[in-house]
């Protein structure tokens, strides 16, 4: 190797070696996988806790008021429903200054040299486990096969594409799964998933649309995959997927996860769908109406120090 190249290589390698040394203790464990599971609950359509009651309204003394009618368009209460439209009364009130009580002062910032603060930071650092982010695109065909594209940490060049015999709709009720190792270490994988469903009818509609516009629709070639009920979760890699590639591991983890948690995931999905359909039917039978709006406004003089 030419001396200049050696010098350049050393210059490039030195920071890497240094960085490697610094992060050594944070390197993932190579201990065998012990378990893959969902650490939290799976959404099953149960409504969340109601929000806390809104703060009370100030006691306004109206100086001047006027009301007008206005057409409004509000977002639908749930996906798949039409927007909420209607005419509402909008009342604009000029009011006297309600003399609102001052907000509580923010807590003073803790000194960075405070031993208690340093201890808390150290405790946090010791227990902190980062979450690996997975960007996933999943197209489910006839609720029985899924074409997956996985980008670990959003890196496009690490992409892996595969066919799976799992209905990935079942992966939509939670956001994180955990991989534990035999030495006790673990990694949480957070999922950001774009999910689409294709049926024979929707595929046909897509084909017609493309052909109408002079384009050709190429039917995805689906490889042979055994039935989920018979063989358990299986996949076939379509693109990428070197053995060293972290995306391959991710794919394996997800299928291992379904092998152990699939029944729970499917049951939660079925329940979510039941609740969703029930809600949709309710809103179609009882379309919400926009509410009247009241706006109170008042002026205050600036404090001397604010001027």
């Amino acid at each position: 190797m030419k001396p200049l190249l050696v010098l350049l290589s050393l210059c490039c390698l030195a920071p890497c070696l240094l960085a490697q040394e610094i992060v050594q203790e944070d390197q993932p464990s190579t201990s065998p996988i012990a378990e893959v599971f969902i650490p939290g609950p799976i959404t099953d359509g149960t409504p969340p806790q109601p929000p806390p009651a809104p703060p009370g309204k100030p006691d306004f003394k109206i100086v001047e008021s006027r009301t007008g009618r206005m057409e409004v368009v509000e977002p639908p209460p749930m996906h798949g429903l039409p927007p909420v439209t209607g005419t509402v009364n909008v009342t604009l009130n000029r009011v006297e200054d309600p003399k609102l009580p001052p907000l509580p002062e923010p807590l003073p910032a803790a000194a960075p040299t405070d031993p208690a603060v340093l201890a808390a930071i150290e405790e946090f650092r010791r227990n902190y486990k980062g979450t690996e982010l997975l960007f996933i695109s999943a197209t489910v065909y006839d609720r029985s096969r899924t074409y997956l594209r996985i980008y670990p940490n959003g890196v496009a060049r690490k992409e892996i594409a595969a066919w799976s015999n799992i209905d990935f709709n079942h992966f939509s009720g939670f956001s994180t799964f955990r991989v534990t190792r035999e030495d006790g270490s673990f990694t949480d994988h957070g999922m950001l998933m774009g999910l689409g469903n294709q049926t024979a009818e929707s595929t046909e509609r897509l084909r017609e649309l493309l052909e109408k516009n002079g384009m050709e629709y190429s039917v995805p070639e689906m490889p042979e995959l055994p039935d989920l009920a018979v063989a358990g979760p299986r996949y076939v890699i379509d693109e990428g997927g070197d053995v060293e590639d972290p995306a391959s591991e991710i794919l394996a983890y997800m299928h291992r996860l379904y092998a152990t948690e699939g029944a729970r995931m499917e049951a939660a999905y079925i329940e979510r769908e039941r609740v969703r359909k029930e809600r949709e039917a309710y809103y179609r039978a009882n379309p919400p109406k926009p509410k009247d709006v009241t706006i109170n406004f008042w002026r205050t003089s600036k404090k001397e120090e604010d001027k």
Binding site: P54, G56, L103, K302
Partner: protein
Amino acid sequence: MKTRTLAIVPAVLLALGAHAASPTIEPLGMSSYKVDWEGAANEAYFIQWSLDLGGWQYFPLVDQGVDHDEFNFNSSTDRFFVRVVSWPYTGTDPHGADFDGDGLSNIFELMFGLDPLDTDSDDDGILDGAEDLDEDGALNTTENFNGSNPKVKDHPDVKLSVTVGN
């Protein structure tokens, strides 16, 4: 927790001469907010509101210069948007002035739901001042002069007390 979609949107150009002020918003508690902005000499300021970022309405007030009052509001709706629009002005009476030149004073237009920066608020091809909204025989300019309500059929001689400012 219930979220409030509240935004202060930098003003967009509404008409020739109007431009953005840089407002700030500060929560006051009890679903109330304070709007403030860095005022400039030789500028007049309007405050607009919207429920959907589509149509914008004016609050019935106009400010001027550096030393303006703060504006505070409380809205019953979760989706409420406010923006501040400025207009170059070197005079001393932004209420009585007619920025868009349609024959109606700014405060008259603000009080009765017309646009003080648009000569033809309803886009019907007739200047706001040349219209007779309540069809009582008195043009809006006359109603403005008499201080009467252009949207109520009343005798043009009947005076309407209009309070401006705080």
